[in-house]
């Protein structure tokens, strides 16, 4: 299958005053298209840093990061912003919706960076809202939605521009179990139906159980990659 994610020998450290703190230590990960990867590990292990590199929010000190067919570690900031707009969707733990905008307008945001007409944007947004099952809540502002619904709006926003890769940082960290299951089932469906490749950072082993692959990071080092043995949620998809 086609490689969607190619991370080779990546090193990343941060400056903290006079000290240099190593975060990722010669990390290599390869992911095929439409896989659903869970990145687990303890706090401070480097999993969010890895996610930021994959999402083009940060660049490594050394190594190669190729995502969705493009090498992004050598791109300028502006080029990475353009690349993010067309290739990656982001889902955050706290949804990060804009409170004064309706769900529909929040989902439309990534399309504002494109040259799509208003009619084309409407078609895309309506489709994304339908995909996450919130077409009837399009006019509601975030405060009028539950946490699970807000996260589904965030997923619709991440999907609306048809990105090849979806990066999710603790997407169920702020949700109750039922809402978390609904969001994870949605993510698993997106990968299984060949819509997006998904990389998800999570603390929760149960959430990781929805992924098709899992890697564990500890102290900036990738432990033995493993294939998730059972995918109970997918049985219901």
């Amino acid at each position: 299958m086609e490689q969607e994610l190619f991370i080779d020998d990546v090193v990343k450290s941060y400056r903290r005053g006079r000290d240099t703190v190593p975060v990722l230590d010669h990390v290599s990960v390869v992911l095929e298209r439409f896989e659903f990867l869970a990145v687990t590990g303890p706090s401070g292990s480097g999993k969010t840093t890895l996610l930021n590199l994959i999402g083009g929010l940060d660049t490594p000190d050394s190594g190669i990061v190729r995502v969705a067919g493009e090498r992004i570690d050598t791109m300028s900031n502006a080029a990475r912003a353009r690349w993010r707009a067309r290739s990656v969707g982001f889902v955050f733990q706290f949804y990060n919706l804009i409170p004064a905008l309706s769900a529909w307008r929040n989902v439309e945001l990534p399309l504002l960076t494109t040259t799509l007409t208003a009619a084309e944007r409407k078609r895309h947004v309506d489709a994304a809202m339908t995909l996450v099952g919130l077409a009837d809540r399009a006019r509601h502002v975030p405060a009028e939605l539950s946490g699970g619904q807000q996260q589904r709006v965030a997923i619709a926003r991440a999907l609306v521009a048809d990105p090849r890769v979806l990066v999710c940082d603790e997407p169920t960290g702020d949700l109750d179990r039922a809402s978390a299951d609904a969001v994870l089932e949605l993510l698993a469906t997106l990968a299984a139906s060949g819509r997006s490749t998904i990389v998800m950072v999570t603390h929760d082993p149960r959430a990781a159980g929805y992924a098709t692959r899992e890697i564990h990071i500890d102290k900036g080092v990738v432990m033995q990659p493993q294939v998730t043995p059972a995918q109970p949620a997918l049985a219901n998809v």
Partner: protein
Amino acid sequence: MKYVPLLWAGVCRKKMRVLLTMLSVMVAFLLFGLLSGVSTAFENAGQNDSLSRLISRSRVSYTEPLPLNYRNQIAALPGVDSVSFAVWFGGYFRDPKDYIVSFAVEPEAYFRLYPDLRISPAALAEFVRDRGTAVIGAALAEKYRWHVGDEVPVKSAIWPRKDGGAAWPLRIVGIFDDQRDPTQRRLMFLHYDYFDDMRTFGTGTVGWFITHVTDPTRADAVSEAIDTRFRNSGAETKTASEQEDTAAFIRQRGDISLITRAILASVFFSLLFLTANTVMQTRREAMPQTAVLKTIGFSSTTVFALALAETSVYFVVAAAVGLAIAAVVFPSLRDYVNLPGLPLRDIAAGIGLAVLAALLTSLPGALAAQRLGVIDALRSRD
């Protein structure tokens, strides 16, 4: 247009704060509009005054009187058509705060010198005939609801009566108008002969002479001739055209324009600092949202433009509302400042200043948004 909902969402983030900021900007620009209009009116003061009329005052001081007998000597000079005079009466009605701009004049000669003062011939004839009368401008009549036939007990802040009375009872016999210079509509004229007979001091003197010249191009020569005529006398004169005299009189009271602009400058600097601080606070609060926009692919330039537009728009809108109110209110000052409306020059200056102030106050926040590090901003939100 596609960014309008996003801009609106930014404006609505803290509605009360935006509303209060807009109110302060609006009031500042209302003040700006009115004060600059008044300042322009002062700068233009005297422009309606005639170049063919000369004013001769005491060289020593505005308050120093001149002998009445100068009148015939001035009238005899070459180039002089006619001469009259006036005395500052310093009248007020009931309370010294309710001052009336009032002069004692020679009725017939004075109104001949000022043909723009429109009064009915019958009223003027009655004014000339009866020494205990007065004529008033239409605005003054309206202010105190005075009518022809009313006897009004006007008092003077300067001139006590010989009989010890404080009030100068005057019967109003006419109301005049001046379409060219509305400030004239606030004046009152009383009869010099009556005034001169009844005052306790200064008898036989006047405040200033008004000379009408036959040829305005020779006004300077006539001015010079008048001043030369009285040089080395006990009461030397200083003669200037009416325009110059008005401007000099206003200058004596201080540089109104400079004072006005100093007030405006202090208001604006305070406003700039306060608004810039509010805008910076707003931008700090908007940091997570800005980070999200950058994360999903908004370029730094777009984020900068959005942040700049978000605060500039409401600043400029509030300023425009303030200027609009000033433009609506300004004509009601027509009796005090000789301008029909807020000058376009001042409106344009206000808009220019609003745009500049909006950019200055928005720029630091917009630059901060442009330079925002996405990862740190997202981490601070989490």
